[in-house]
């Protein structure tokens, strides 16, 4: 139990060991520890983030689904509306067209009637003259009565009838009231 040089030897060894530990042992171990700690922390943070992301994605997908459904419903409604509109419009068109056709037909009928009337009027004149000719036969002075008839015809013309001066005879015979409406221009 003597105090001797050992004390110095121990102090020197202690110093060397501490320096070695400080330079060669401590830093790598602590660095590895800290790096692992960081890795673990990062991993945990990443998993947290992933969880949050998943939640967000789920929320988003649900919302998108909802929106899509809404959109689809809107589209269907729109289509229905449009279809109804089209039906309505076509109904309207059809009605209008029908009305127009009716109007046209009516106008044609009126025109036809007027024409027939004109023709009838013209023919009445001829018939009347022919009848009168037949009745009167000889007693009639052709030139004298012709002049009178000419006057009468002029009278018609002035009133704006459809009377044709040239080929009056044949045309009248041809354009009778029995002429069909489709062949009217040729009458």
């Amino acid at each position: 139990m003597n105090i001797n040089l050992t004390i110095l030897g121990q102090a020197i060894a202690f110093f060397i060991f501490v320096v070695f530990c400080m330079k060669m042992v401590w830093p790598p171990v602590i660095a590895a520890l800290q790096e692992r700690q960081k890795k673990i922390a990062d991993g945990l943070a990443a998993s947290d983030r992933a969880e949050r992301d998943l939640e967000l994605a789920q929320e988003k997908s649900a919302q998108e689904l909802r929106e899509a459904k809404q959109q689809a419903a809107g589209l269907i409604e729109q289509a229905n509306k449009r279809a109804a509109q089209i039906v309505e419009a076509s109904k309207d068109d059809a009605r209008k067209e029908g009305e127009k056709l009716i109007e046209q037909a009516k106008a044609e009928i009126v025109q036809e009637l007027n024409q027939a009337r004109e023709a009838l009027r013209a023919e009445i004149g001829v018939i009347a003259i022919a009848g009168a000719e037949k009745i009167l036969e000889t007693s009639v002075d052709a030139s004298k009565h012709n002049e009178m008839l000419e006057n009468w015809r002029q009278n018609f013309k002035r009133r704006g009838s459809l009377w044709q001066t040239e080929n009056a005879g044949p045309s009248l015979r041809k354009g009778s009231i029995f002429c069909s409406p489709g062949a009217r221009p040729a009458c």
């Binding site: 004390i7 110093f15 400080m22 042992v25 171990v29 790096e35």
Partner: protein, 291 residues
């Protein structure tokens, strides 16, 4: 203990293998008288004592340095292979130790100092390993060395006051060094002289300085002394009890040595821990500039 009395046996076990200088005209154990100063291995306790300061405990130094080297070798091996990935067994063990020491240092020491933590790790592991030698049955290794011709062999370095005192004085030097480094010479001297008693009156202050110096000086010097003696006392007493148990008949020894060894596992760990913690605390106090 062939051919020896109990007290001789105990003495033999408590004597270090000493290499030192014997003076001129010294009468050695076998009656020869030295004609000049000579360096030799002490063959008796008296020779070892007569060598004075200029002697060295070869067994203590060899075991201490060997164990310290073993500690550093193992830790260096782990440190070289250290990865931040999945640690292996050795790395895991080393990391547990390092983390334990690091935590202890961080709890106690709040400054920034790269030396403290490795210092604490070295103290803890080294002191623990040196203490651990105490658990090896007291006659195993010494007897082998006796057969090999060595007069003495003491395998527990921490039962040598030189070891604990050497480490405690190293810590003391660090305390002084950091005190002066952090607080400056005037700050350190002020801490020793103007505290705990202080006065605004100049003359009263002068009167109080020696008192303060006495109190603070004693508390400062008590640090290394208590550090050294606590470790040495515990281990020396433990070793002594193992030696005493070894005096019993061989068939009765286990009844006492096993419980004592189990209890000693706690002691050696605790003493290593206390030495480390007190070192940290003392150095932490040296860093505090609050006075």
């Amino acid at each position: 203990m062939a051919g020896k009395t109990a007290s001789e046996y105990i003495q033999h076990h408590l004597q270090n293998l000493t290499y030192g200088q014997l003076p001129v005209d010294y009468e050695r154990f076998d009656g020869t008288v030295l004609s000049e100063k000579s360096w030799t291995i002490a063959q008796t306790s008296k020779e070892a004592a007569d060598m004075g300061f200029w002697a060295i405990h070869v067994d203590t130094m060899a075991w201490a340095i060997g164990l310290g080297a073993l500690f550093l070798f193992v830790f260096r091996l782990a440190a070289k292979r250290a990865t931040s990935g999945v640690p292996g067994g050795l790395q895991n063990f080393v990391e547990v130790m390092v983390e334990f020491v690091d935590k202890s240092v961080k709890e106690t020491f709040h400054g920034k100092n790269a030396v403290i933590a490795p210092l604490a790790l070295t103290i803890f592991c080294w002191v623990f390993l040196m203490n651990l030698m105490d658990l090896i049955p007291v006659d195993f290794i010494p007897h082998l060395f006796t057969l090999a011709g060595f007069p003495f062999m003491k395998i527990v370095p921490t039962t040598d006051i030189n070891v604990s005192l050497g480490m405690a004085l190293s810590v003391f030097v660090l305390i002084i060094y950091y005190s002066i480094k952090i607080k400056g010479v005037s700050g350190f001297v002020g801490e020793l002289t103007l505290h705990p008693f202080s006065s605004d009156n100049f003359f009263l202050k002068l009167v109080l300085i020696p008192i303060n110096l006495l109190l603070e000086g004693v508390s400062l010097l008590a640090k290394p002394v208590s550090l050294a003696l606590r470790l040495f006392g515990n281990l020396y007493a433990g070793e002594l009890i193992f030696i005493l148990i070894a005096l019993l008949p061989f068939w009765a020894q286990w009844a006492l040595s096993v419980p004592w060894a189990i209890f000693h596992i706690l002691i050696i760990t605790l003493q290593a821990f206390i030495f480390m913690m007190l070192t940290i605390v003392y150095l932490s106090m040296a860093h505090e500039d609050s006075h």
